[in-house]
């Protein structure tokens, strides 16, 4: 009985990540690539994302300190980071990245700085939520996500 409850909890947690807009369809694409030969694929990719993208964020932090701002460089850095974020289905992070790039095009320094804070906030929030979700998932064992409604 308890096991079923735990499974339901995991399913609900997963569903809420989509309902609240943290994740999009691309995350489901990752889940579809997970199988018995690669049972932790999603978590591996997400872990790799957080490890790899940290340098983009610190480069962006540094670039935002420069005067005057090099909008072209900022845009290039963000393009990379946005790409990775899109690839794991990080919906809110991706949205903030788009805002940032729009401010770069408009050469709006304040906009860039403000949005970058949002990017970092969403990035960190998602990390916590995904870590909790993966931990929960591991405790209950494999969950069949293919049959679940979003």
């Amino acid at each position: 009985m308890e096991r079923n409850q735990m499974h339901t909890q995991v399913a609900n947690t997963r569903k809420s990540l989509f309902d609240q807009g943290y994740l999009d369809d691309q995350f489901i694409q990752l889940e579809e690539l997970q199988d018995s030969s690669n049972p932790n694929f999603v978590e591996e990719v997400v872990t790799l994302y957080y490890r790899d993208s940290a340098r983009f964020l610190s480069n962006l932090d540094q670039a935002l300190e420069k005067r005057p701002l090099d909008f072209s460089k900022l845009d290039n850095l963000m393009h990379q980071f946005k790409g990775s974020s899109t690839s794991i289905g990080a919906k809110k992070v991706k949205t903030e990245c788009t805002h940032f790039r729009n401010y770069c095009s408009a050469r709006n320094a304040e906009g860039c700085k403000r949005t970058f804070q949002n990017v970092k906030k969403e990035y960190t929030t998602l990390r916590k939520k995904l870590e909790a979700y993966f931990q929960m998932s591991r405790q209950v064992g494999p969950v069949e996500t293919a049959c679940q409604a979003r």
């Binding site: 690539l33 790409g83 990775s84 690839s87």
Partner: protein, 146 residues
């Protein structure tokens, strides 16, 4: 359903992308679509692998002696873009018939036309879906020797 493949029946794809996450993803998508995958992190490495780097002797097989049935490459890469890589491949008498697919996160009609006119088989928007890659594999890759 499992399919038995002999070594020579499995299409070999060279995937080129400077983004680590995307490289991992495209590799998984291709493997899940029953392809053998070699990845390269930029155009130069790809050319090296293909045996097309300047001063490399051009032969039918690349340096490792393994044939490539398809090349899939990101457009935006530092140093050499996917377009430039496509150009080099199409200029090669040995490799010009290998299908090249360009991927990009940006939907820019000029860019797409430019690549298709240069001989890219297809232009695909990132992130790639498994269904797209499966379709690609069935439509494009001929397992017979070139």
């Amino acid at each position: 359903m499992s399919i038995e493949y002999h070594e020579e029946d499995v299409p070999h794809v060279l995937a080129v992308d400077d983004n680590l996450i995307d490289r991992k993803l495209v590799e998984k998508l291709l493997k899940t679509s029953s392809c053998r995958v070699t990845t390269a992190e930029n155009g130069l490495r790809a050319l090296e692998y293909l045996g097309l780097k300047e001063n490399q002797q051009q032969n039918h097989f690349n340096g490792k002696g393994t044939k490539v049935n398809m090349i899939i490459t990101d457009y935006c890469m530092p140093g050499m873009t996917g377009y430039e890589l496509l150009q080099k491949i199409k200029e090669s008498s040995v490799l010009k018939d290998v299908p090249v697919v360009i991927m990009s996160s940006e939907n820019i009609p000029n860019r797409i036309n430019e690549c298709l006119e240069k001989g890219a088989e297809r232009f695909m928007l990132k992130p790639l879906k498994l269904s797209d890659v499966l379709k690609l594999r069935h439509q494009l890759i001929k397992c017979s020797t070139l």
